[in-house]
């Protein structure tokens, strides 16, 4: 028995694995933690490889449950694209269970899309759970502002090119084409939203500050003032009063949240609930970044125009 134990101990105490780099001919095997990063990375990778996503489109990343199938996705991936704030920190235990050390946080194969971005709503002062399930490092939904894409895509391309230098030119070309496409779309979106610039809007969950910033909307308030905790009646009463004063027309609710509270608030304030998917792919035909933003902008403009 001792011999077996010694042999097992020697095998386990071996030096850290030598990671064999992929060859130029191998297609890229990229895993994105969230659907927004998946849609952006897919546009950048194009036909150079395969991009998978660890969460289902339309799934609330705040309530995510680790499933063995995610461990398998991590196991197979060569590169991980993650948000970089707390939005996808659930991926860390998945990686630790996968036996794929290339994707451990801090490894060269891990790309954090947030680097270099100006983060909104960074909490200051004492933070504890009385504030709900807050993101202490700031609001992580930055890809909803197309203005962040030059930096986000630069981060992703730089990370991919670091591991596959031979693909740099093609990745850069894909990035350029994608940004050109977004710039064209942005002119269209800006024109659509122009009549509603400065319009006050209320959200159910605090997912939209970057989107509002991009299109000049004013975030009058958030129903779920403490994330993950039901709002207090006092907060709702005050919010409804302000909504009436400012004649708010729309309450934006992500499709993964129940709408009962938002409906009550909207009814009391004379507004309407607009249920929209926060991430690409949740609704048929919106699995690219541009089609997703197209749908968001069109739906919101229509609701504000009514």
């Amino acid at each position: 028995m001792f011999r077996i134990l010694i042999a097992a101990a020697l095998a386990l105490a071996a030096t850290p694995a030598t990671l064999i780099p992929a060859s130029a001919a191998d297609p890229l095997r990229v895993l994105a933690t969230l659907p927004d990063l998946w849609s952006i990375t897919r546009a950048l990778v194009g036909d150079l490889g395969e991009v998978k996503v660890a969460t289902r489109p339309g799934q609330n990343p705040h309530d995510l449950e680790i499933r063995p199938s995610q461990i398998l996705l991590v196991k197979r991936a060569e590169i991980l694209v993650r948000n970089g704030l707390e939005e996808d920190s659930w991926i860390d235990p998945v990686i630790e269970s996968s036996g794929n050390p290339r994707l451990l946080r801090g490894a060269p194969s891990v790309i954090e899309a947030v680097r270099g971005l100006e983060i909104l709503k960074v909490r200051t002062g004492p933070i504890d759970r009385s504030l709900g399930d807050v993101h202490p490092s700031g609001n992580p939904h930055f890809t909803l502002d197309p203005g962040t894409l030059p930096i986000v895509t630069a981060n992703i391309v730089a990370g991919l090119a670091r591991l596959r230098p031979e693909l740099t030119d093609r990745l850069q070309a894909n990035r350029q084409a994608f940004l050109d496409e977004v710039a064209t779309a942005m002119r269209r979106w800006t024109d659509t939203m122009l009549p509603y610039r400065g319009e006050p809007v209320v959200s159910y969950h605090d997912s939209w500050p970057y989107f509002y910033r991009a299109f000049g909307l004013e975030e009058l308030g958030v129903i779920e003032d403490r994330p993950g905790v039901p709002p207090s009646p006092q907060h709702l009463v005050a919010l409804i009063r302000r909504m009436r004063e400012r004649r708010v027309k729309v309450v934006v609710v992500e499709s993964w949240y129940p709408t009962a509270t938002a409906e009550t608030v909207a009814r009391a304030a004379g507004a309407r609930v607009l249920t929209v998917p926060q991430s690409p792919g949740a609704v048929k035909g919106t699995d690219t970044y541009i089609t997703h933003l197209d749908a968001l902008v069109t739906t919101l403009a229509r609701a504000l125009g009514e």
Binding site: M1, F2, A8, L12, P16, A17, T18, R56, G58, L64, I66, R67, P68, S69, I71, L72, K75, R76, E86, S89, S98, G99, N100, P101, L104, V114, R115, G116, L117, E118, I119, V122, R123, P126, D128, R129, D133, P136, S137, G147, T148, P150, I151, A154, R175, Q176, V182, A183, M186, T190, M193, L194, R197, A214, F215, G216, G228, S255, W256, P258
Partner: protein, 470 residues
């Protein structure tokens, strides 16, 4: 400012020298102009040098202020207009921007001395600690008949008709270095050997202390230290994370109140590179569990193994199947082997993630050798079986209800029992949970009794965010 002053002085000195030398030697106008031109060039060079230096220092300062968040890699990109009125989004046309991500400053002694929530200090990078701290508390109230209290044969033996802290746990966890992570859990809870007030103790113990090696060859992950072995479906789940208030009867009868835990040894596991999910875990432990094994020596170690697979049906849910075995030796040199088969199916509503329907079942077989009864020769081979099944319906994020059924034989003595336990659960938030559970148990043989019990459980978590597992 000082740099500019130095530049001016340099220029004045150069100009004075040039003027004086011009007057003294009466050089012609062309020579003077050439010299002036040279001086201008020298001045420009000095200025450029100082500007470059200033720029470098500014960038360094900015990097230090943003504490390790480097600017985005430079890349040319077309400007994507961001129409905004209040806070303009500034997508860099050059692709580079300063990184005003949250600043983390080291706490002063006064900051550390000020009373505040422990988990605020535990925020990695914010309070100066490089690991997480989590605290969980699990309190149970147990109501039953006076007969059960007298005989101390309730589910929580010796704590019948009491409110007690079952487990209050402090956990420290994080990365040790690029190659390993570690976890340490220390828990305290009320335990009672015979139910007498004098025997009630608040025991503090080291629950778990292990390192996980993450970068071993062949995709191996290994844990070394004190841990809960990867055996079965529910055995790996901590007390406060169980789907019901109590651990299923078959696990407590075969391994003790907390299941097969507190084992020291080495465990390795692999996720096979296959199209389907297959995970294999193998462990070698001391075998300290006194109920099933208890030899407590690596000369006759406890060896555990588990194979787990998972089938994803997309919108139709997921199915997990596991097969486990644990074999070890008792202090009187008899071998005990426990084998198990677990199945868990979960269906999750498509749009909001609710309702959730969970169906789970686990069956265990215990095969052990014991001394022969008086008057008999040789050893006796005992084969005992048990299992549980439950269904849970999560109406929404806050409310859930379910029912569990138990049936098990006793591992050594003659006897068996069955139980049924309906329960309801309320979670005001992700960090606070209440449960109410009724349990009806009927035992035969060595556990002859009929027990009706009511449990009320309150659990909380302070600090690090728990990640739900399938």
């Amino acid at each position: 400012m000082r740099t500019r002053g130095r530049c001016s002085v340099t220029v004045l000195v150069f100009l004075s020298v040039a003027t004086l030398s011009g007057g003294a030697h009466a050089q012609d106008a062309d020579t003077l102009r050439r010299e002036l031109e040279q001086l201008r060039e020298q001045f420009a060079t000095v200025s450029r040098s100082y500007e470059q230096r200033l720029k470098e220092l500014s960038e360094r300062l900015q990097q230090l202020e943003t504490r390790g968040v480097p600017p985005a890699p430079a890349a040319t990109a077309p400007t994507v207009p961001s129409s905004t009125t209040a806070t303009p989004s500034t997508p860099a046309s050059t692709g580079t921007t300063a990184a005003p991500t949250p600043r983390a400053t080291a706490p002063t002694l006064a900051d550390l001395a000020r009373p505040r929530q422990p988990f605020e200090l535990a925020q990695p990078g914010r309070g100066g600690l490089l690991f997480d701290i989590g605290v969980s508390g699990d309190f149970v109230a147990n109501l039953t008949s006076s007969a059960r209290e007298r005989n101390h044969d309730g589910t929580f033996a010796g704590r019948e008709n009491r409110v007690f802290p079952r487990e209050v746990e402090v956990g420290f966890f994080g990365r040790v270095d690029p190659y390993a992570s570690a976890v340490v859990r220390i828990s305290a809870g009320e335990e009672s050997s015979n139910g007498e007030p004098s025997s009630r103790e608040l025991n503090v113990r080291l629950d778990e202390a292990n390192i996980t090696l993450l970068t071993l060859p062949l995709g191996t992950t290994a844990r070394i230290g004190l841990m809960r072995p990867r055996f079965g479906t529910l055995n790996t789940v901590h007390q406060d994370d169980l789907p019901q208030v109590d651990r299923p009867d078959v696990l407590t009868r075969f391994f003790g109140e907390e299941g097969l835990d507190g084992e020291s040894g080495v465990e390795a596991f692999w996720v096979l590179p296959a199209s389907m999910y297959h995970e294999i875990a193998l462990g070698v432990f001391n075998g300290d569990n006194e109920v099933a094994f208890g030899r407590g020596s690596l000369r006759d170690p406890l060896i555990t193994g588990r194979w787990r697979t998972f089938l994803e049906f997309e919108e139709h849910g997921g199915l997990q199947i596991d097969v486990s075995a644990a074999t070890g030796v008792t202090p009187d040199d008899h071998r005990t082997t426990v084998a198990g088969l677990g199945v868990k199916y979960k269906w999750i509503g498509a749009r909001t993630g609710f309702p959730v329907v969970t169906l789970a079942a686990e069956g265990l077989g215990s095969f052990r050798t014991v001394d022969a009864a008086e008057g008999e020769s040789g050893d006796r081979h005992l084969e005992r079986w048990g299992g549980y099944a439950y269904v849970q319906y999560d109406v929404n994020r806050r409310w859930a209800a379910g029912v569990r059924g138990d049936w098990t034989e006793l591992p050594v003595e003659r006897g068996r029992e069955w139980a049924v336990s309906p329960y309801a659960q309320f979670k005001p938030s992700e960090f606070l949970r209440f449960r109410l559970q009724y349990k009806h148990t009927e035992g035969r043989g060595a556990v002859e009794r009929v027990a009706d019990e009511l449990f009320l459980q309150g659990s909380f978590i302070l600090g690090a965010h728990p990640t739900e597992r399938f």
